[in-house]
Symmetry: C2
Subunit: 313 residues, 2 copies
């Protein structure tokens, strides 16, 4: 799957991923009203509106982009119907041949991590049947529990030729609270914890390589470009998933150090900036309303691709 | 809810929680066969068998225990039907007046952490209706992303009078890989990362206090009793949720340092040792078969309570 992701990035010339993170406040009124008219004021209605919203955005952008990243929390908050909309979104994106990165930030130990890996990347045997739970192509994983938490994911990645992105340095203001503390690594060198986690990402990925990159990538926030530069060197075979572009303050020019010299090796996420683009004045000035919200998403994808291309050139 | 948990522990004299972590291999054959006969070899059948299994164990033990801790990964691996069994289990345990600790180990930033908090502890407004997604009483939370990830949970805990347990020092062999690294804390003192996370737990809990304990507890593995002793002192107002008893190697005698002098302040989890007790020779020798598996769970709960009581006395 890392090969497919890399190939699709080359083909589209767009090292970007659209974050399908449907906040209730982003849903255009007409979609929510239609769903409520049919199913009442219910979680089921919100779930229907979410899927209609996602589908329109995917239909308007899928030919421009290699991948999507649904954030499962935004579905989980609407209970079982919300998670059904998550699954429907994953399946629909696969129909459109998009790579699906499940932003699930799971992580536990031993058999429990194995269960999460099965849930999101694997298959489960029930009698003579082999069944597929959520079926994303990649999942994001939290490293706090150490190798015991990561290795069950790596095992499933090898079996299924899928991948993970391990949280290394997150984009939020307080990410340094624990991640930036200086520790002594296994070679006796003093370095911030996130660098040591980066070393481990490189190690975990070393025995599950695709053609050019390993199945084990890393999450590093666009808001910390200098740290991205160091991590790029520490993890030469890992794709970096870069959140924090756009709404969180990261700009195209900040991103250059996350990429390899050939402009590959990183994929930049934007969520609000694309899926809620219709709320921005710049798109409203071009005739965008709530009704044609997905057209604004397409314009925002084109603008983001241009911004990153100009930064990389 | 922390008050209810503490009161129920006093009333039952049992500072224990039963981990409802239904592995496929634990399910008694007759339950799975009956479900497959009705629904075929499907995720729905496994989900039905899981709920029947949980219900029997809860019915056999609920009068002895204050709380249960379903591990959501074990349900998530069976997709949407699995998560429906999770929700049904939470609701059934509430009917039996048990405190439900959702072992979900979620954690993200800002609005995403808020969405997870809503999903597991909160409520969501859809038009004029206020709806409840999963409705656990407590959730476990991963701290790697820092205060930005925890504060949205604390906010919901205050609104709903619910609680969280933050991962501080986990029970697995490789937990030290990152958690034990020595860092410099905010007062300039050198200490392991898990102690610093413990300090933060104490701080996060300081403005959301129940009668005796705060809404913010900590997870500290039974397999690290010396560290438990230090953390008990660092977080005097936090309940400690202690996994790793039984199958993972922790013993009653190891647990004494996790408790306050009055025998409160900690709650010890056992999963396999209780829910799969019917597979142990000691219970089979007492007439237990797959058919009456839940009777073994009751015997195992009684044995665990006695073990911890004798350690505390």
């Amino acid at each position: 799957m890392i090969n497919k992701l890399n190939e699709k990035i080359k083909k589209t010339g767009a090292p970007i991923v659209v974050g399908l993170d449907p906040m209730l406040s982003y849903l255009p009124t007409h979609l929510l009203d239609a769903a409520v008219a049919e199913k009442g004021e219910s979680l089921e209605a919100v779930a229907d509106a979410i899927f209609a919203y996602n589908k329109a955005i995917v239909d308007a952008t899928y030919d421009l982009i290699p991948a999507v990243k649904p954030q499962i929390a935004m579905y989980e908050q609407f209970g079982l119907p919300g998670l059904a909309a998550f699954k429907k979104t994953v399946d629909y994106c696969h129909e459109k041949d998009l790579v699906v990165i499940g932003d699930v930030k799971r992580g536990d130990i031993g058999s429990t991590s194995a269960a999460y890996a099965t849930a999101h990347l694997g298959q489960v045997a029930v009698g003579s049947k082999v069944l597929t739970p959520f079926d994303e192509d990649f999942a994001t994983v939290n490293p706090y529990l150490g190798s015991d938490g990561i290795e069950p994911f790596v095992k499933v990645c090898k079996e299924e030729k899928k991948g993970i992105f391990v949280l290394v340095k997150t984009s939020n203001p307080s990410s340094g609270e624990f991640q930036d503390r200086v520790i002594t690594d296994d070679e006796g060198k003093q370095r911030p914890l996130y660098e040591f986690v980066g070393q481990m990402v490189d190690k975990w990925g070393s025995d599950c390589m695709g053609d050019d990159y390993s199945y084990v990538g890393a999450v590093v926030g666009a808001t910390y470009p200098e740290m991205g530069k160091v991590l790029r060197e520490l993890m030469p075979k890992s794709y970096i998933l870069v959140p924090g572009y756009g709404a969180q303050g990261g700009k195209g020019a900040d991103l250059v150090h996350f990429f390899d010299k050939d402009g590959l090796g990183a994929i930049v996420n934007s969520s609000r900036g694309i899926i809620a683009a219709y709320k921005q004045e710049q798109y409203q000035a071009k005739g965008i309303t709530e009704e044609n919200f997905a057209d604004a998403s397409r314009m925002a994808v084109e603008a983001m691709i241009a911004d990153i291309k100009s930064a990389l050139n």
